[in-house]
Symmetry: C2
Subunit: 345 residues, 2 copies
């Protein structure tokens, strides 16, 4: 492997507001040598997800930030190219957190072997992986949609939102999606089968949302916040539930943006409508993974769940793709193809 180069993206500086190209730095380094019990993994796919914006900041959060000069974090699917580990063989395809680089080492901790025959391996980063489980577990543990209820989700064509709406439908609820632009809206309605979809760019967005939810909102799966939340908030029904897994609208904010909704109004609604709001990160519900994997594989097989991937070719393009993700530039689960996929011709 010494003739190969490990290309990797480092955090050059902590972004102020929107990340810019200068916050990322590409470095070439020797491919590391696996020690005893270790594996060398070649990255095939790198997942890009909004939560990574948080890791670029040093604001206190549930996970430590990436240090300046450190390799950017991220989930990856890769191929074992050297194995000194008894459980893995060369050629195995594994899910890991190699981050934004073309090669990485592992001692096997947190590694999961994938079956390329069961599903396209990139889906382990999306519908069959962390974003899919986020939707599944957030609905199961907090949202708890019941038959006939109305479930609203933003970023509805994205990795989490698309699954939220489709599971809501499976549970017998009405799914209302919010997306940006006519192309995504058409996909959400026609391909994903949501009952209604609203374009958040419409000037009368809030009125359209109200019209699309004539019976109010029982579950709002919060991954955006900001003006979407402002429009959702007055429509909450008694006993509404709001799983909070993201607040993308604020990720690039340097100060807190003005919102129509104020804390006193929110508290009053929480009380009088007995709303439940609960934040979670997917790892809180890791125990749900086996049920999720079984259910989701079944739903994909029987056509209840459709997914869309937005695969960007080349590690070089990861920063640009990531910057676009935070502005809704992707269409479907955003994945960077870092190296050749031996399971697809």
């Amino acid at each position: 492997m010494t003739d190969l180069v490990n290309r990797r993206w480092l955090l050059a500086s902590r972004p102020e507001g929107e990340p810019k190209a200068a916050d990322f730095r590409m470095e070439e380094a020797p491919v590391p040598e696996p020690g005893a019990g270790e594996l060398l993994i070649r990255t095939i796919y790198l997942s890009l997800d909004p939560y990574m914006r948080g890791r670029m900041s040093d604001a206190k959060s549930y996970a430590a930030p990436v240090p300046i000069g450190g390799v950017l974090e991220g989930e990856t699917v890769g191929e074992v190219v050297v194995s000194n580990h008894p459980d893995y063989a060369v050629g195995d395809v594994v899910l890991n957190r190699i981050g934004w680089q073309s090669f990485g080492l592992s001692d096997g901790t947190g590694l999961r072997k994938l079956d390329p025959g069961a599903a396209p391996i990139s889906t382990a980063l999306g519908v069959l992986g962390m974003p899919g489980l986020t939707a599944y577990a957030g609905l199961k543990n907090i949202g708890q949609p019941k038959e006939g209820e109305t479930v609203v989700v933003a970023a509805a064509s994205g990795a989490v939102g698309s699954v939220v709406g489709q599971i809501a439908k499976i549970r017998g609820a009405r799914a209302v999606g919010i997306a940006g632009g006519p192309e995504k809206c058409a996909f959400v309605k026609d391909e994903l089968g949501f009952d209604a979809v609203i374009d958040h760019r419409a000037p009368d967005f809030a009125a359209q949302l109200a019209a699309a939810c004539p019976d109010g909102i029982d579950v709002y799966f919060e991954n955006v916040s900001g003006k979407v939340f402002d429009a959702v908030f007055p429509l909450f029904n008694p006993f509404a539930r709001m799983p909070v897994c993201g607040t993308i609208a604020f990720y690039n904010a340097t100060s807190f943006p003005e919102m129509e909704t104020k804390v006193p109004a929110l508290m009053r609604a929480i009380l009088t409508k007995r709303i439940r709001i609960q934040g979670f990160i997917v790892y809180d519900f890791a125990a749900d993974y086996p049920d999720f994997a079984r259910d989701m594989a079944g739903w994909i097989a029987d056509g209840h769940v459709t997914y869309r991937e937005d695969i960007v070719d080349g590690l070089d393009r990861a920063p640009v793709a990531f910057m676009g993700l935070l502005k809704g530039g992707n269409f479907g689960k955003l994945v960077v193809k870092v190296g050749q996929d031996p399971t697809r011709s």
Copy 2:
């Protein structure tokens, strides 16, 4: 009964901001005649509770407002003086919702017979009644304090707060109370046995609260909001729970008061700390009543729970007592003695 007069307080006008004397009107009316299957009840005690402020407004809430000219609502303990109902005899003491008046009719719906030998009958309006169940069920279903955790509650000398802290102690948690003035603070610490108490009138209130919660806050039982919430919010630990049963700070507000905490900051904390915030009203957890009644009777008997009543003499004084309640003027569970208590000499 025709020689007796029913005195009652009507809602004269909807208060703008703080209720004032002119919003209440005393009326004298004939004592009503019970029909077939009905009871005539003489009010002994009337409960005054902050939620009644909401019933005076026509803002949308979980219960219909009192109409202009209607008798003000409230839970009461009374004595059956005429019975055309097979299950009740003259002299029975019953819990009911006669409201702010000296006599009322019932067909038995929602009536509960009290055992005067078991506990002072006024406690059915407080520690053994709705406020006690609010504390019990809010902690059981939402707050869920664990051993060693820190539970914070405001209005800690009041009907709900005093029980919240004492149950937290029974569950092995640390109880930190917030109250107004040295007398109430001393009571909370010395009589109720909270681990710490902070006077919200102190200029350095937020700093004192932080010092009293060196391990952060795991449960905040929200019955006040406003500046207390602003001080609590930065101290939340991961996986903190916040049952919301009241927002007294806003009940008299004509517009939404400024708070330091903004919705975006709140959402970010809910997400990164995985906080659970849930509103409830006590009737949502009516099914917990039998467990509550058994546990609370036991805790009072064995000294784990102490209570304090603030009994105001005479229905005439109900409006003044109620206006004071919203400003923390009471000390303990506020009850109006409307008529003679045959169980106390």
